[in-house]
């Protein structure tokens, strides 16, 4: 017997290399499209997830082994092809790195989902689906679901300028009315999406619900636009998350003064009840660390190119 006194202290490194986990087929990227310098689309194959996904849900991606878990709202799913589509903005280290590394044929280390409560697609007569910037992608499945449910869909999408526009045609296909806005007026109405909402509200006095997805400041503005008329306004919140299964509480948000977890209680909430300032403050939680990570990553990229 090879055990001597004190041997228990250090475990030998020669642990049986037997495969611990069933090797899952890797999640493969089957399509990529670049909308602008910073916005890109990834479509990956996961037939089971495509079958289960519903509008409003999200996935958590770990792009590589040492990576972090990032939540991304599902922008589209194709049950026949068995694929899920994400539209991503390269803002932090992980999304920049993915922009560089993810190509058709490459794989993602881990994808889990769909997560979160699906959006409630009720039997509504008339809805306004509002997408601001990147938010156009996650609101699209809802617009489509409402349309397929027989609702009258008014689409309102907004971008900073013409060059950033994506999915205009795809979105328009499921809308009875379609309004596009841009901050600089280079396309559609000049102004924010709230101008589009106001226009829709002026033309229709029977709007049942407004669904708004985009940056928190834009969703806050949308909620304020509809508050006086009391039109139900759903927003999809994007706080910082770790596990996405309700276990860590990092994604806690204030809804009507009560604490809720966006990952399992949401991500959709009543926009009139959301404390957006709280959300925006909490999104700044890792600002310093994020900056450090991006700087370090940019340096390694440069060094990599130089060598």
């Amino acid at each position: 017997m090879g055990a001597k006194s004190g041997d228990g202290a250090v475990l030998s490194k020669t642990i049986d290399p037997l495969p611990m986990v069933d090797e899952e087929p890797a999640v493969e990227i089957v399509a990529r499209e670049d909308f602008s310098d910073v916005t890109y689309l990834l479509e990956f194959r996961h037939p089971m997830m495509a079958k289960a996904a519903k509008p409003g849900q999200f996935v958590i991606v770990i792009p590589r082994e040492h990576g972090e878990r990032i939540p991304l709202t599902i922008a589209d799913f194709d049950r026949d092809k068995g694929t899920i589509t994400l539209v991503i903005q390269a803002v932090g280290k992980t999304t920049k790195e993915m922009q560089q590394a993810c190509r058709t044929g490459t794989t993602l280390f881990s994808v889990v989902g769909p997560m979160g409560e699906p959006s409630h697609i009720g039997d509504l007569g008339k809805v306004v689906c509002v997408g601001g910037g990147l938010g156009v992608a996650p609101v699209f499945p809802q617009a489509r679901a409402f349309k397929e449910n027989g609702a009258y869909v008014i689409g309102v999408i907004g971008f900073r300028n013409k060059d950033l526009v994506f999915w205009e045609d795809k979105f328009r296909k499921y809308c009875d009315e379609f309004i596009i806005c841009s901050d600089d007026g280079s396309v559609g109405i000049k102004g924010l999406v709230t101008e589009g909402i106001k226009a829709a509200m002026d033309n229709h006095d029977d709007i049942d619900e407004v669904i708004a997805i985009g940056p928190p400041i834009m969703m806050k503005a949308c909620a304020e636009t509809t508050r006086p008329s009391g039109i139900k306004t759903s927003v999809s919140l994007n706080p910082i998350m770790v596990d996405g299964t309700g276990m860590c509480g990092g994604c806690r948000v204030k809804i009507g003064g009560k604490m809720q977890f966006a990952c399992v209680d949401g991500p959709d909430f009543d926009g009139h009840q959301v404390d957006f300032d709280d959300l925006m403050n909490r999104l700044k939680r890792f600002t310093e660390d994020e900056k450090l990570a991006v700087e370090r990553w940019t340096e390694t990229c440069r060094a990599g190119k130089a060598s």
């Binding site: 017997m1 001597k4 770790v242 860590c248 890792f286």
Partner: protein, 501 residues
């Protein structure tokens, strides 16, 4: 055989275990308790009185034959000892480290009436570690029975249930939402108490039993419990998803940056390696002066992780006293030795922030103990006018968890008033063929209680499926030749006369 041992003839002193020096270990993630060597193990084994009706076996939630494995160890048949141990518990190296033995086997050990009880946990760990080093596994002969079992969650409850069902001959698949298996063993318990390589080694014992583990699978959302039974052809399902959903206190200032749950802290550090940021991408943003609220085992883990990551000062804030604190005494002692400051009889009432929305301080109130409450512990009562400010820039809540809502949201299973899954004595839920156990049934408890629940549910499942459960152990060497009449093993003695037509 020597004369029968008595309390007077056994070694009087409990064999001490080597631990890392507190000053040294507070700066590293290596294991605190170093484990016995062979001589220490044999010496401690001599302290067992070999009681004929062993209280320790009854005291063990999974019913390990403790005198049995100690006897084999004394005979120097270590692999035989390991086999006895693993007949009841697939994870000896883990349980030897994290079980609260003082409340279980060691708590009822008769030696403990006069002396210190036998250090059963340390012996268990020694055997478990030896088995890992030697590459032993205890794989019995398994006769496939055609039943398919789905297990939700790869934590201790799921692992224990999976092992028992696999040994019974079922085709078992375990689903895990994270990218690595182990559940709370992986994300919750830090490396200095339970090294990842121990988890890897013991979880791989499941694979040797033929259990399949599928990670990155969130049951409830990717597919439901109902789909598992109706579409995926599982004959029975066990839910061991754990509690999750951390509690907060509901005091002002909880959404300030720098306030987080112990679950978040531990998940970031243990599962996602935030301590190695930016080599790993997950950040933590550790505070300089960390205050942890609560005094359970999770609180101790959270504090000791912060200390090791380099926090200047780590404090424990608890509204009762050390006597009422739920942590294992060993853990609290270790934390104290490492320099954690304890503030007993102190409760936070408000968290104060700076202009950037970061935590700056915590307003606390002193408490005193009043009349006993429902839990039998004396109720802490605030002392009027005793408010004071406590300087801190990171506050960690370790005050327990609530039920995770996902399975409830996505299935028709009956839940109790608190959202936990309702189950009967056999851990059967309101849905036929679906069993549940561990924290998702009982609320936050321990690893070994979850394992006990997993085993109990397995027993219930076997009865439900009509699998003979004789608690009989098939020994590997007799494996393939157990061909008694009609396929019954002769030693089972369960067949009665058969009349031929």
């Amino acid at each position: 055989m020597a004369k029968k041992k008595t309390i007077r003839t056994i070694p009087q002193e409990r064999t001490p275990i080597a631990v890392q020096d507190p000053g040294e270990r507070a700066k590293n993630f290596s294991e605190v308790a170093l484990g016995y060597g062979l001589d220490e193990t044999l010496n401690e084994c001599e302290r067992c009185l070999m009681c004929p009706e062993a209280a320790c076996v009854a005291g063990c939630p999974v019913g390990i034959d403790i005198p049995g494995f100690i006897a084999k160890t004394i005979e120097k048949d270590y692999q035989g000892a390991y086999d006895i141990l693993t007949d009841a518990n697939l994870l000896p190296a883990i349980c030897g480290r994290v079980c609260p033995q003082e409340d279980q086997c060691e708590g009822v050990c008769p030696v403990g009436d006069t002396l210190e009880p036998v250090a059963i946990g340390r012996l268990e760990r020694w055997l478990g570690d030896l088995a890992i080093k030697e590459g032993w596994s205890n794989v019995p002969y398994i006769e496939p029975n055609g039943f398919r079992i789905g297990i939700v969650g790869s934590g201790p409850a799921g692992i224990a249930c999976a092992a028992d069902m696999a040994k019974a001959g079922c085709d078992v698949t375990v689903y895990e939402a994270f990218h690595k298996p182990g559940g709370v063993l992986r994300y919750g318990i830090p490396e200095f108490r339970l090294p990842n390589e121990v988890i890897d080694a013991e979880v791989s014992a499941l694979a040797r039993l033929g259990v399949k583990i599928k990670c990155n699978t969130l049951v409830g959302r990717l597919f439901t419990i109902e789909q598992m039974l109706d579409e995926m052809d599982f004959d029975a399902v066990f839910i061991g998803t754990g509690a999750g959903y951390p509690s907060f206190m509901g005091i002002p200032g909880e959404s300030l940056n720098g306030v987080l749950s112990a679950n978040e802290l531990l998940t970031r550090c243990n599962l996602m390696h935030a301590g190695e940021f930016p080599d790993y991408d997950t950040p933590l943003h550790l505070g300089r002066q960390v205050a942890v609220i609560g005094a359970g085992n999770t609180a101790m883990d959270a504090m000791r992780v912060c200390l090791r990551l380099g926090a200047e000062k780590v404090s424990c804030v608890y509204r009762r006293t050390k006597a009422e604190s739920p942590a294992r005494a060993e853990e609290t002692d270790h934390a104290e030795e490492e320099g954690i400051e304890f503030h007993w009889l102190t409760a936070p009432v408000e968290i104060l922030g700076d202009e950037d929305n970061n935590v700056r301080a915590m307003k606390c109130v002193r408490m005193e103990l009043g009349e006993p409450d429902d839990s039998g512990r004396r109720r802490p009562v605030p002392i009027e006018g005793s408010e004071f400010e406590f300087e801190t820039d990171m506050i960690v809540y370790a005050i327990g968890t609530n039920a995770n809502p996902i399975i409830g949201q996505t299935s028709k299973l009956k839940l109790n008033a608190w959202g936990y899954i309702e189950s009967d004595e056999d851990l059967a839920t309101s849905m036929a063929g679906v069993y549940a156990g561990g924290d998702i049934v009982t609320g936050g408890a321990t690893v070994i209680l979850a394992m006990g629940a997993g085993r109990k549910a397995a027993k219930g499942m076997k009865a439900y499926l009509g699998i003979r459960d004789s608690d009989f152990v098939y020994l590997p060497d007799q494996g393939k030749s157990s061909g008694g009449p009609f396929g019954f093993d002769v030693r089972e003695k369960t067949f009665s006369r058969v009349r031929l037509a």
